[in-house]
């Protein structure tokens, strides 16, 4: 992952990793008291960072039936026993995905993506190579459910041209399909709201529902961003820089949340 320019802090010069900027940016998208469904990796790191800072009453749900886990060791998957530690509730899909997500009480869903297009449609099912040959991957699991039903969706992924094509190879989880509103698509959830990559933070235009740049991470040039995106990006007049993690956020990420650097390389 790209490493940003070192920045001056007091007298020390510290290197801040893009993944740390992503985690901090993700955390800032979460508000205190919200209910979120998270996957593992950066989404979980971001939610823990939010809980440790401005959102102590954040509720995190894992689709398999775990609420508010406090992992001591880093899990390799949702059903890794490490994800169950000190949870306040163990139940199942029907409770988490049915009686919470489908019930409409989940504020935000935090998803990863294999491909994401200009309308925020997500593909996690298959990839087509140049010759058109199809290779299948994981599929939806809870991804389509979260994308269809959460009040808003936040996607975290690496910023590469092949991962951000004009149109995804397979719409596993719908965004604003064909530029249509969610009402037109008969979907209850609000749809994609943020895309956080290792180069920028992006959002969706309220009118045409297309991906637009919100902020560039320090050290990333606009041309570099465009060159790594498979479709024309809406770019505002002024593009602010994504705020860097604070010293406290960095301390939490490095010393408490992911000391082993499993997700924050």
């Amino acid at each position: 992952m790209a490493v940003t320019e070192g920045t001056r802090r007091g007298n020390a010069r510290i290197d801040i990793h893009a993944s740390e900027i992503m985690a901090a940016a993700g955390a800032r998208e979460l508000h205190d008291g919200e209910v979120i469904v998270v996957g593992l990796g950066l989404p979980e790191i971001a939610s823990v960072l939010a809980r440790c800072t401005h959102a102590p009453r954040l509720t995190t749900l894992l689709e398999v039936g775990v609420m508010n886990p406090r992992p001591r060791d880093t899990p390799v998957g949702l059903v890794d026993s490490r994800s169950f530690y000190r949870a306040t509730c163990w139940s199942g899909f029907l409770d988490v995905m049915g009686m919470n997500l489908h019930r409409g009480v989940v504020d935000a869903g935090f998803l990863g993506a294999l491909e994401l297009d200009q309308y925020g449609n997500i593909n996690t099912t298959l990839v087509k190579n140049e010759t058109g040959k199809v290779r299948y991957v994981n599929g939806s699991a809870g991804g389509n459910d979260v994308a269809s039903l959460a009040k808003r969706v936040i996607v975290i992924m690496r910023h590469e041209k092949r991962k951000l094509p004009l149109a995804v190879a397979h719409i596993t989880s719908p965004g604003f399909v064909g530029g249509h509103s969610r009402q037109e698509l008969n979907l209850r959830g609000g749809g994609p709201n943020r895309l956080i990559t290792d180069m920028a933070v992006l959002g969706f235009d309220p009118e045409n529902h297309m991906l637009t740049v919100i902020s560039l991470h320090p050290g990333v040039e606009l041309e570099e961003l465009k060159a790594n995106t498979g479709f024309p990006l809406h770019v505002p007049e002024e593009i602010p820089a994504t705020p860097l993690p604070t010293d406290e956020e960095l301390r939490l990420l490095r010393e408490e949340i992911d000391p082993a650097g499993t997700h924050l390389k």
């Binding site: 163990w90 199942g92 899909f93 997500l101 599929g139 459910d145 269809s148 039903l149 008969n186």
Partner: protein, 301 residues
Amino acid sequence: MESKVKSVSEVVRSIPCGSHIALGGFAIARNLIAVVHELIRQQKTDLTVSQGVVGLDTDLLVGAGLVKHLVMGGGSLDRFGPVNCINRARENRSFSYEDYTSLSMCFRYLAGALGLSFIPIKSLLASEILERLETGAGSGNVKRSKCPFTGEEYVLLRALTPDVSFVHVHVADSEGNCQIHGARWENEEQAKAARRLIVMAEEIVPTEYIQRFPEKTIIPGHRVEAIIHQPFGAIPTCAFGCYDYDADHLRLYVQHSKTPEGFTDYLKDFVFGSRDHWDYLEKLGGIRRMAELKAERILGY
């Protein structure tokens, strides 16, 4: 009274080829490994397999060529890698399949468990998952419709009622009253949707133990046809509170499953090459390895 506690080979003999079996595993947790190995040894062919989120157990059955039709909501072996055999079979169209989502699979089992022949859902709409189901093998199981009260658009799902559900549980008494520790994904709905229910238990407990924590009884005994008592029955996948996953063996499996040849070698070494699950556990390092994987009391892994 005939005992419900049976050997895995005895139970598997009672499964006709062509059956629809549902598996209670999820990715790398509580997979029905002992059952799946025996299904492969006894070469139970033309199976329809359903699972909420597929894992190693279904990947083994598909790799062994026993699966004619797969109904699933996605899946992988988490950080250890993809379900290579299933993905390869989809690429080669060597079987038919229906691709759903976690919740739509759970709702299909829920409808089956409640004796409802259909249930509405708000997932799937506007996705290519739905389009592929409507135009493919799932065409008879999904239907767009409106709520008669609100006019809201829904997808109606047909109930999923497996011929046999196999579910891994932590403890069961001799009547089949079962308790599961930790997250349960769609275990309860899948178990109660089935026409026949067979559980694989890590431990058999006296009914008095069940009566001490009756609120933990997820599956009542009268629904259970047979109980397979198999400690470490899910190895190399994990069982919360009992044992951790065997990371080394999972890596070895993913390495082998990358090619049909490698997978064939794996089957030869660990499935056909093992008389039974005990013999298989010996190949993984026997009691010493199992002692290493045994869960620590507080952490549960």
